[in-house]
């Protein structure tokens, strides 16, 4: 019968700490610890080292051009990751690139999370025409490859950190809206919502106080994984020359600049990539661990 309420997962009934239990479960996994460890190390280095290092990431030094990294012949302790075609220290430049990339990605995810969740709850809980319009828009937007959308905007709009962030938000929000909408749709049919309505609670009260806290567990890992995804996009924009412009270092523009020297000084385009990938792997390990934790929780294994 149409009036019947949806089924509930076993983990739900047992209460509030779903979020906390998910994080505890993730914390018990080696992969999460490794990810967190590497991430902390990299971010720590990115925060501290550029300030302490004697090298300015932008300063050109003709005498120190094309120095190979420490593990190659001719490498020195002074330049762990070598130097680029203009004699700039790649280690410092990569760390600054990490700062920029991670900052932009995190900001973008935070914003798209808020926007997507808000629209998703509205769409799922209130439904009707808001829902129809919103879902058609997300449909449309998910039908345009992110890159086409992004480069179309960035190629003409004088890229800076704000426009890059804005483009990422524009590209990313529909997924949150859709996931959250489906959660809100399911929650709307649950008994406690009916209970609250009978008590006389307003829709706003139900949506903010009761439905919103249920959003986090299923979507937290999406957000974590998305930080990595957005970092890749940010780097890609830099690589295509439509991200943050040189000389400000970003992973993308360092790689793009060094592309020409691929054959003779291969470390210039690849070393920043190594830092980028380390960061991405650490984030992805954390996100994937969270996802596994969530799956376990909702399967009721624990």
């Amino acid at each position: 019968m149409a009036a019947e309420t949806g089924t509930s997962s076993p983990a739900r009934g047992r209460g509030e700490s779903v979020t906390r239990r998910m994080f505890r479960l993730a914390w018990e996994m080696t992969s999460f610890k490794i990810g967190l460890g590497v991430f902390t190390l990299l971010v720590g280095a990115a925060i501290i080292w550029p300030e302490l290092s004697p090298y300015d990431p932008m300063k050109i030094s003709v005498r120190e051009r094309f120095l190979p990294p420490i593990f190659l012949e001719g490498g020195t302790w002074a330049h762990l990751a070598g130097t680029d075609q203009l004699g700039r220290d790649l280690f410092v430049r990569s760390l600054v690139g990490l700062r920029n990339g991670l900052g932009i990605a995190a900001a973008a995810v935070a914003i798209m999370f808020v926007i997507g969740c808000a629209l998703g709850v509205i769409s799922g809980y209130w439904g009707r025409w808001v829902d129809i319009i919103l879902m058609r828009i997300t449909d449309a937007q998910l039908s345009i490859p992110v890159i086409v959308l992004a480069i179309t905007i960035l190629s003409v709009s004088r890229p800076n950190p704000f426009t890059v962030t804005a483009v990422l938000v524009l590209a990313g929000w529909p997924i949150y809206a859709r996931v959250v909408r489906s959660i809100a749709l399911a929650e709307r049919e649950r008994e406690y919502v009916r209970g609250a309505k009978i008590l006389g609670a307003s829709d706003l009260r139900i949506a903010t106080l009761m439905i919103s806290p249920n959003i986090l567990p299923p979507i937290a890992f999406v957000a974590v994984l998305d930080i990595a995804r957005m970092m890749i996009f940010e780097a890609l924009f830099g690589f295509l020359g439509i991200g943050i412009q040189p000389p400000t270092p970003t992973f993308g523009n360092i790689i793009a600049d060094g592309y020409k020297y691929l054959v003779n000084s291969w470390w210039i385009p690849t070393m920043p990539g190594v830092f980028l990938i380390l960061t991405l792997i650490s984030i992805n390990l954390m996100g994937a661990s969270l996802e596994r934790a969530r799956n376990k929780l909702f399967k009721g294994i624990v």
Binding site: R12, Y192, N214
Partner: protein, 624 residues
């Protein structure tokens, strides 16, 4: 009896091994099953009965582990037979029917095809055509209507009862020597469950199959078993026969089990409160609710699900009013209408003489103050992440107008009233029992000092003991505050204990409305009698299932045929019942029944049943 047992289980022990910690599930369980015997095994959830059923067909998987014992069968031990041989033995010689018919088969493949798949898996030399014929033959044997068509339908097109029938077919199709039936009626409505039990009874006589019948309800096992084993925490604590265990249980636990079975007839009845001449608190006048669902088989088509079809009743202050019915009867829709989460399509609902539909927002909020509904499931009725005190406080916050301290005091006062300790005020709900949660739920409703409380299956999730305690609280509150209750439930025994007046619903309509005593001792509608004949009990039945309930299931709420909606299962139906729908006829004293036989005498009823039988016999004879 000198014949060797068919099955000889000796000293079975099973452990649950998780992270190298073993927890005993079964301990030293031994029993024997004779040819053609029906052995009943009773145990509550957690007693290990389902694990035992899986041991018997050697289908134990991690993290469970068999640590000792043997299952002798035709001179061999089922637990040591090689996996490949065992796989064919299961299904071929051992039939198994589980408790969850809805998920037992692959949802993406037609039922008949899966039965054929199984038959050919255990009898590889059988041709596809032969397997199909055999499956159809058994489908007819379990009285599946239109088996040819059913064969090609998907599991989701089956109702719970039909699916369970199909699974019985699946188990019997290979002519097993014994059958394990694990809680087969657990998820079914009482009338459907009674039909399934009757079917298994008949099949045992026809097919010479021994049955191990496992259930948590003594009342159900008693109906079918020759012998009974009582399982508690993985051990057998009593072996008996149905008659002996009901008459004189030996073990304390069996006694307790017996006590917990609700009585239907031997119950102290509540005194009808004096409501003569008083204005009704709640008036429900001819309400209708139809849901529209898409029909994928037609162009932009839709179907109308007629959930509630013209329900009328009044509830007076101080009354305990009951609404009973099986799933799909419209009682949950009615509860949504009564609590005004949804508005009826037609008809009106009035509270204290004022029509709810005409109230503005503010009046409606005020109404919610005096009019509360308690939901079924104590685990889902409240937002899971709120502390206890906050949950109960919520309605006060919504309705406003109270100081912080006053609110807190009010909450503590109500917590005390429903028997919740004050020190759990700041606790979360995790770890609280169902009973405690239901008290929080109750406290949350009471905190607003309502006049009318609707209890929608509120007590269904609780065991007998906890039910009694809450009923006592209800009584006490009623005495102190003059509450009025409406109980909505599928549980006849609960309604019998709690209510003074009872409405019986079938397919969106009230078919009978009368005082408690009349409903249970002198019902005017054949469906009420069918319900009473089907409900599991250890008392002597006043109504016999064979006489009061025919095969068949309630019609779909989409496109309800003309005539009385019960006529397809009614043993008293005659020509007119299939064309004209009977209205509610008065039987005096405010008792009404929607049946042409509402005021018939005993002799007339017997004559009607005979005529019906003759008519059906003629119908069967004329059909090919």
């Amino acid at each position: 009896m000198a014949a060797p047992p068919l099955l000889d289980a000796q000293g079975i022990s099973v452990d649950l091994v998780r992270r190298s910690v073993s927890e005993p599930i079964l301990r030293d369980v031994s029993f024997q099953l004779r040819e053609r015997q029906v052995l009943g095994i009773i145990g509550e959830s957690g007693s290990g009965k389902t694990v035992l059923s899986r041991v018997l067909c050697n289908a134990i998987t991690e993290p469970l582990e068999i640590t000792a014992g043997s299952v002798g069968y035709h001179g061999r031990d089922l637990l040591t037979i090689p996996a490949a041989e065992m796989q064919a033995l299961r299904g071929r010689e051992i039939g198994y029917i589980g408790s969850d018919p809805g998920s037992a088969l692959d949802p993406t493949i037609p039922v008949g095809h899966q039965i054929v798949e199984k038959l050919r898996a255990v009898q590889p030399d059988m041709s596809k055509q032969a397997a199909r014929e055999r499956a159809l033959e058994v489908l007819s044997a379990v009285r599946m209507p239109r088996p040819e068509r059913r064969f090609d339908e998907f599991p989701f097109q089956y109702s719970g009862g039909m699916m369970q029938r199909a699974l019985i077919v699946d188990a019997l199709v290979s002519n097993p020597t014994f059958l394990i039936a694990d809680n087969v009626t657990q998820q079914l409505d009482v009338t459907v469950a009674a039909q399934i039990i009757r079917l298994m009874h008949d099949l045992r006589d026809q097919l010479d199959t021994a049955i191990i019948f496992i259930s948590s309800s003594l009342a159900i096992v008693r109906e079918i078993a020759d012998d009974i084993i009582v399982l508690q925490e993985g051990r057998i604590i009593e072996r008996s026969t149905p008659e002996a265990i009901v008459a004189a249980p030996e073990h304390d636990y069996s006694k307790r089990l017996l006590e917990r079975i609700p009585r239907i007839w031997a119950v102290e009845e509540r005194a009808q409160p004096k409501t003569e001449g008083e204005a009704a608190l709640l008036e429900v006048d001819d309400v209708y609710k139809t849901y529209r669902v898409n029909d994928p088989t037609r162009f932009f088509g839709h179907n109308d699900v007629e959930a509630v079809r013209g329900v009328t009743f009044n509830v007076k202050a101080g009354e305990n009013f009951g609404i009973v019915g099986e799933s799909g009867c419209g009682k949950s829709t009615l509860s949504r209408l009564l609590s005004w989460i949804e508005a009826p399509d037609k008809g009106s609902i009035s509270f204290e003489g004022e029509s709810v539909a005409k109230m503005n927002r503010r009046r409606l909020l005020g109404l919610r103050h005096r009019f509360q509904l308690l939901l079924q499931d104590p685990y889902n009725a409240m937002p899971p992440h709120m502390p206890v005190g906050r949950t109960i406080l919520e309605p006060l916050l919504i309705h406003g107008g109270m100081g912080r301290r006053a609110m807190r005091n009010r909450v503590l006062e109500v917590m005390n009233e429903v028997g919740l300790p004050a020190d759990i005020y700041d606790h979360l709900q995790i770890g609280l029992s169902a009973g405690q949660r239901q008290r929080i739920n109750l406290a949350r409703a009471l905190v607003l000092e309502p006049r009318l409380l609707i209890l929608d299956e509120t007590l269904s999730a609780l065991d007998q003991v906890e039910q009694s305690r809450l009923l006592e609280i209800f009584d006490k509150l009623q005495a102190e505050h003059g509450f009025t209750y409406i109980f909505i439930s599928h549980d006849l025994a609960m309604v019998r204990r709690a209510c003074t007046r009872i409405a019986v619903m079938y397919l969106g309509k009230i078919v009978e409305l009368a005082d408690n005593h009349t409903v249970f001792f002198n019902p005017g509608h054949p469906y009420t009698k069918a319900l009473l004949s089907a409900v599991p009990t250890i008392e002597e039945r006043r109504y016999d299932a064979a006489e009061n309930l025919l095969e068949g299931e309630p019609p779909s709420p989409i496109g309800i045929p003309p005539g009385c909606s019960f006529n397809s299962r009614c043993p008293l139906a005659f020509e007119r019942c299939t064309t004209d729908e009977p209205g509610l006829e008065s039987r005096g004293d405010g008792r009404i029944s929607a049946c042409y036989w509402a005021n018939a005498s005993e002799d007339e009823l017997i004559a009607a049943a005979d005529a019906n039988r003759a008519r059906r016999a003629a119908g069967e004879a004329s059909a090919p």
